[in-house]
């Protein structure tokens, strides 16, 4: 039974208004920068600012990648570096956290909860403090300025939360299927890979997307632990770009920002359904 529409209407309007205001507030700064990405340099700098680009063009986007005249471009390389690092991190994180999550979900031992929680808290020392030891470590083991070093570090950073999420997810999968596979001659390892992993796909997708996002967005570690253009991800490349071209070119900066969010938007758009499902079963139903 529904309440009378007379009472329902103002509440509903209010709810809609609140949500709409929030959505607008969220989108506005985004819109502001990303519309600037398509403006001409004059228009971007001009006053009063324009809401809709008069001179809509893709020139800035092209200029981000290649600009033979001013050499004020970032090039493709930083984006390629970021893509390699982020994909590597996502893959490694998904693998190790699936295995660890499986171990935690299917085996009971004393102190398991404490171990699991200490996993979550371990990452809580401020990043800046860990940079000093990490810098020395990376030099010592030739991980400085390599893809591998960053991937390992970023996967380690994502692993605790991901393991926790995977463990929750795998716990929600009945283990009878694995048991029967084992009776039919599989090892536990094979069963986890062939039976559990496909069933845990949404959880794995959630974990991979989270790790991808973290790696794609990483800034301070990349700033301190990379130095060459052949490894440097685009986040620090943009930072360097702004530092070197003291006068901030809003139109170029906006264009670079716009380009930088494309992969992450694709990843989320593609996996969003799994992502929410994975969070639900992994984190909520624990």
């Amino acid at each position: 039974m529904r309440r009378s529409p007379i009472r329902l209407l103002p509440v509903k309007t209010l709810v809609y208004a609140l949500l709409l205001v929030w959505a607008l507030l969220t989108i506005l700064p985004l819109y502001w920068v990303f519309s600037t990405a398509f403006k001409s340099p004059e228009e971007a700098r001009g006053y009063p600012p324009t809401l809709i680009p008069h001179s809509f063009s893709f020139r800035n986007l092209v200029q981000v990648f290649d600009d033979p005249q001013t050499h004020k471009s970032l090039g493709f390389k930083p984006y390629l570096n970021s893509l390699i690092i982020a994909l590597g991190t996502a893959l490694l994180t998904a693998t190790v956290s699936f295995l660890a999550g499986f171990g935690f979900a299917r085996y009971r031992f004393r102190g398991r909860e404490v171990l699991l929680l200490s996993l979550l808290f371990i990452n809580m020392l401020p990043e800046m403090a860990k940079m000093i030891p990490l810098f020395r470590m990376f030099i010592l083991y030739h991980l400085y300025d390599t893809y591998l070093g960053l991937i390992l570090l970023l996967a380690a950073g994502s692993a605790p939360f991901s393991t926790w999420l995977m463990r929750g997810y795998i716990k929600s999968i009945p283990q009878d299927l694995e048991d029967s596979a084992v009776i039919d001659g599989c090892t536990r390892g094979q069963a986890s890979r062939r039976i559990t992993a496909p069933l845990a796909a949404p959880g794995l997708a959630a974990v991979a997307v989270l790790a991808f996002r973290a790696a794609w967005n990483e800034f301070s570690a990349a700033l301190i632990l990379t130095t060459s253009d052949s490894v440097r991800p685009y986040t620090t490349a943009i930072f360097k770009y702004v530092k070197e071209h003291a006068s901030v070119d809003w139109h170029l900066l906006s264009a670079a920002s716009f380009v930088s969010i494309i992969p992450i938007v694709i990843a989320f758009a593609f996996f969003q359904r799994y992502f929410v499902g994975g969070l639900t079963r992994g984190a909520v139903k624990d």
């Binding site: 502001w32 390992l152 639900t280």
Partner: protein, 295 residues
């Protein structure tokens, strides 16, 4: 509840969890322990103390607790965490999730998409985006204020703490909202329908049905958000901690001490104190969770 029991042998379990633990040990625990040790030394980035740091015991910590910059940063951090973390991300995230819960329309898609958009974008981009948005000449916010006859306001200069709270709320609300939305989906619709039939008010529905079922999720979210917000460094890209330290949260103070004044040992000691504060929050959380007897 089913009890899995001893499915894997001890050795098998070890094999499953060891890859994750190996990289965590090498890349998280080891540097963290090293950093804790550095807090007990007078290591600096340059000069004689860069080569031969001395073990100074707890004297760094004695200094921390007499350091007015530390208390300033602690106070600002607490306001920042409470404002942008608890009220902003958790509170607003919960409110949005509740408002959206039973709507099935374009507005739900719009709110979710915009919040996710704000959340997935790289820190560096977001920081520049906000610098641009708040800029006194170029920024859209001041342009909007001008339309209604206000401003322009130099936000980052006059209201630095408010600016970074706004920024961090904008930035992170999506995570809490998604988590709460996911939790609300597990709530049996019949509960709320029954409450509707009985004519329960929105507040009663929230207090008697939703809150008890969301308790664990809210606790987990509060903990995660508190810890993340305490450690977040991105406001540095907006205000650099200034002007005159008015937005200097603890991680920025650590950065200033370590990488601007090069006092690595002292910076590590401040980090250790920050870690202890986080640990205190974690313990409160554990207590609260234990009281629920969920495990």
């Amino acid at each position: 509840m089913s009890t899995p029991g001893l499915i894997l042998s001890r050795r098998q379990t070890f094999a499953f969890i060891s890859p994750a633990f190996a990289i965590i040990a090498v890349f998280l625990v080891f540097p963290a322990v090293w950093a804790l040790y550095l807090g007990l030394t007078d290591l600096e980035l340059t000069g004689i103390r860069a080569v031969m740091p001395e073990f100074v015991g707890l004297s760094n910590f004695v200094r921390v607790f007499q350091d007015s910059f530390f208390y300033n940063a602690l106070k600002i951090s607490l306001v920042f965490v409470f404002g942008s973390g608890i009220i902003g991300q958790v509170g607003l995230g919960l409110l949005l999730a509740l408002l959206m819960h039973r709507e099935k329309s374009w507005i739900k898609t719009l709110v979710a998409a915009s919040a996710i958009a704000a959340w997935i974008i790289p820190d560096v981009v977001v920081a520049y985006l906000w610098v641009a948005f708040l800029d006194s000449d170029f920024g859209l916010l001041n342009r909007g204020l001008k339309l209604v006859g206000l401003g322009p306001v130099n936000w980052l200069f006059h209201y630095p703490l408010f600016s970074i709270i706004l920024f961090n709320t904008w930035r992170g609300t999506a995570f809490s909202m998604l988590l709460f939305s996911a939790a609300l989906q597990t709530l049996p619709p019949s509960y709320l329908e029954t409450a509707d039939t009985l004519g329960a008010s929105a507040w009663r529905r929230f207090r008697d049905i939703i809150l008890p079922l969301l308790k664990t999720t809210i606790l987990t979210d509060v903990l995660l958000i508190t810890l993340w917000t305490f450690n977040v460094f991105t406001p540095f890209l907006l205000t650099g901690g200034g002007p005159s330290f008015r937005s200097e949260i603890l991680p920025i103070y650590v950065y200033r001490t370590s990488f601007k004044y090069f006092k690595l040992g002292y910076g590590s000691a401040i980090s250790t104190v920050l870690l202890l504060i986080n640990l205190a929050f974690a313990l409160v959380y554990l207590q609260a969770k234990r009281r629920q007897k969920k495990w």
